[in-house]
Point group: C2
């Protein structure tokens, strides 16, 4: 019974997320707003924290260590990285009204007149750099970073000390990046200020096919959408990493492993693996530095297949660039001698990821008459709701709430009918709610209600924390919790949540 | 037995933090570095995450909700907030070599000659704005935010919907802010890019002395360093909030409560309450908008008393300013009618807080012959170290490590003598280490060693996770864990950790 549909309206979902306290903007709203800037509201920020903490958990599991680098760096850094020269969009400016357009979009959409005043285009054209320029001190030309990765590479020599000259090692960073898009659209899919997450795995190039961790993942199956399949306009092929490697779709064992890590990041956040595929870069889109290059794509309900993560073998390109521009030798003295490591990169945006999670969770349940955000329990911004059936029961309900609040993100809701409160909880994606009724006072138990099935059981108050713990961490499913108990199915109620 | 001393060298601590992978910089180091920009390395970032998660925990306990707002906003926002006009430093520029100095510092330090070329000062003087200017799109004058608070206020009308027009409510934000200091010094104490944390409590002005939460904290004692005591050059006075209120040191119950929340933030991170005092702003330093205004100060080992947090009753100043500049009415329709709430603010830097934590934890243990970072267990970047006594025992040790790694930030260390590994763990502040020895194979137990006391006991392998859990969360102290067990005191060993 999956009542989610392909063809979910992107606008409907965005409006819903704005109204329910997930994402506000474009900011500053009270001053009219500027495209590409958003605020995460109370629920959205909690969801974003859960996204980022899941990233931390998965990367840490694979021995990556987190760092936090500056977001503003001087021009020399961006000269070395290639952004100062190459990070540009071609812009067409209307000669009459000065409206600006991205030249490639105009050509693609076959629009040759100004959308604003009707003047024939192209007028003036030029390359616009997408970095936000600023100044450090009084005169040091600097930029808000257009990506986090470059700043991650800078302390390379420091990392070699931390890891005591041993390869391989992994570093990751989660932080802000800025792209001065000419006309940002698509809500949190394409922002001017956004959060990037990236893992960088430093490895001796000689060890890329001598890589122990590969053995654990080589028989996992993934959906491969190779360049050849794309040309033939066929469907992605499900196959193991080992087969993909033997067919030479993938160059090395170490790179194959990074694909496994990348997919785990997204499945841990609740994206079903059936909705994920790896798309190989075609020859004409491959960055000049990248050897293996695939995108992780997710089949969203509103936008179809979209890119959500890039996985690249960047070789020693970046270290060489910074070596050239800084004059510092960027090598390691390992047991095997001097090595300039290769870098395998997993890079993605957490805003866009948050979008994918809500797109996957959003369900218009016609039977209930309200929307439901079916988040995986550990991703939900609020884990538990506590409701007194009537106001007389507030004292007991508050007592239960105070205990739950110590261990979980909990909310207390006393306004409106229980049906309305359940609907409100559904819209916030709260996986489970506790209702305190008159029986609670005698029997010391309460009703716990499951968001997805709307089923209810009674559980002793003393077991609530343990049960919620098990459900939230995924140790137990709702089915396992209800086994052998009397299950009541919630009466269907119509009505909005407010 | 406290072997920490007043008079800890600030430079010694900074060098230690750089060498041990806590803080690198100034960045970009390989390009020479620019004052005021730092990278948190593998250990420092974990510590910073623990700082930020503790802030989340404490604010959430008091029902504040987190948001994340943009870090770049257009000029109109900073005009309304007053930063465009008022956020400046007076600068003196040497007429000959163009070196720049902060005028107020020159006067204070009685330096009237250029430190660089000896020319008589002042030469040219001017007001320099401390915001980093940038551009959104092609022509929208914008700034990297100089503080987070202004961006927190902007979605006020959105919050009113989220909280369904009920007062009071709390919002907090943790994020980057930028101050283009003329000559930043003092490591992570005064940075050009830093992280701010602030809680904003929106309250009906009529309810500031009708505030239930106050009752729970009113008898707590705090160190008050009033304006009067400062004038009289006496010591801070320990007194309850209730007495401070009745003596009119503090204006309202709600504001008194924010002092309690502020102190809890820092004590939760391991700063002893004896090292904390509240210093009242003197009349001449009070911001024009602030009614009650105190700083939370910490008595650091290296720098003495320093300001770490500001607690201000900002009244309705900010909402009025944004109302005036945006033309939007910023009020709430509460049950009591239309209200423009007052805002109580708790604002501090997480970098500076991280400094305070390391300053408090850093101990030069002469007996052991190495430095020890005595972090509170839940703040430690790494919670547990696992060591095989000899290489033959690696298999067993790795097995134990893999199990611990699922629940804790763990490290595995196999190089050097056990004494050296303990020393290395001390320097990273790891509270407890497990050593796998030959007895482990027969008896299925291992040695657990306590960082602060260097005491060791043997515990069954099956109890390690539970014991570490209890020690890390503070449920049990080392004394409680060792009760009734045979305690071995570690032999004193000399030698460095590497």
């Amino acid at each position: 019974m999956n009542d989610k549909k392909k063809g979910l309206s992107f606008e409907e979902l965005c409006t819903f997320l704005q109204q329910k306290g997930f994402v506000y903007g474009p900011e500053p709203e009270i001053y009219g707003g500027i495209a590409g800037f958003y605020t995460y509201g109370p629920l959205g920020k909690r969801l974003k924290n859960n996204v980022e903490n899941t990233i931390r958990k998965v990367f840490t599991k694979y021995d990556f260590w987190e760092v936090e680098c500056p977001t503003v760096m001087p021009a020399i850094v961006w000269k070395a990285s290639g952004h100062l020269e190459g990070f540009t969009d071609p812009v067409v400016i209307c000669t009459k009204c000065k409206a600006q357009y991205r030249a490639d979009k105009l050509i693609k959409e076959k629009k040759f007149k100004c959308q604003n005043c009707g003047t024939q285009l192209p007028g003036e054209t030029r390359q616009q750099n997408l970095m936000m320029k600023t100044t450090i001190g009084t005169d040091t030309e600097s930029y808000n970073r257009p990506e986090t990765a470059t700043t991650t590479y800078l302390p390379f020599l420091r990392y070699t000390k931390h890891f005591r000259d041993k390869l391989p090692f992994g570093i990751f960073q989660i932080g802000k990046a800025y792209r001065n898009e000419i006309s940002p659209r698509q809500f949190i899919i394409r922002m001017r200020e956004f959060t990037q997450a990236e893992g960088q795995y430093f490895i001796n190039p000689e060890d890329k096919n001598n890589f122990e961790q590969y053995e654990k993942v080589k028989n996992n199956e993934y959906n491969f959408y190779t360049a050849k399949i794309q040309e033939e306009e066929k469907e992605a092929e499900k196959t193991t990493l080992d087969k993909a490697l033997s067919k030479k779709h993938i160059g090395t064992k170490a790179y194959a492993w990074t694909l496994a890590v990348a997919q785990e990041l997204f499945t841990q956040m609740g994206i079903p693996k059936e909705k994920i595929r790896f798309r190989q870069h075609k020859k004409d889109e491959k960055a000049f530095y990248a050897s293996d290059a695939w995108d992780l794509e997710i089949n969203t309900n509103a936008l179809g297949w979209e890119e959500f993560c890039g996985i690249h073998d960047r070789t020693d390109y970046d270290l060489k660039q910074h070596e050239k521009h800084s004059g510092k030798e960027l090598i390691m003295n390992t047991e095997k001698g001097k090595v300039k490591p290769h870098i395998l990169e997993i890079a993605f945006g957490t805003d866009r990821t948050l979008y994918a999670i809500t797109d996957n969770a959003y369900t218009d349940d016609l039977q209930r008459g309200n929307k439901v955000l079916k988040f995986t329990p550990w991703m939900a911004p609020v884990q538990i709701g506590v409701f007194p059936l009537v106001n007389k029961l507030e004292e007991k309900a508050e007592e239960v709430y105070e205990i739950l609040k110590k261990d979980f993100n909990a909310v207390y809701d006393r306004s409106g009918s229980i049906g309305r409160r359940y609907a409100r909880a559904d819209e916030q994606g709260i996986p489970h709610c506790i209702t305190i009724d008159f029986e609670t006072l005698d029997k010391k138990d309460a009703t716990i209600r499951d968001r997805d099935s709307t089923e209810q059981i009674r559980i002793p108050l003393t077991e609530i924390n343990k049960t919620i713990q098990e459900l939230t961490t995924g140790q137990k499913t709702w089915k396992e919790v209800t086994k052998g108990k009397t299950v009541i199915k919630q009466e269907e109620k119509k009505g909005s949540s407010r």
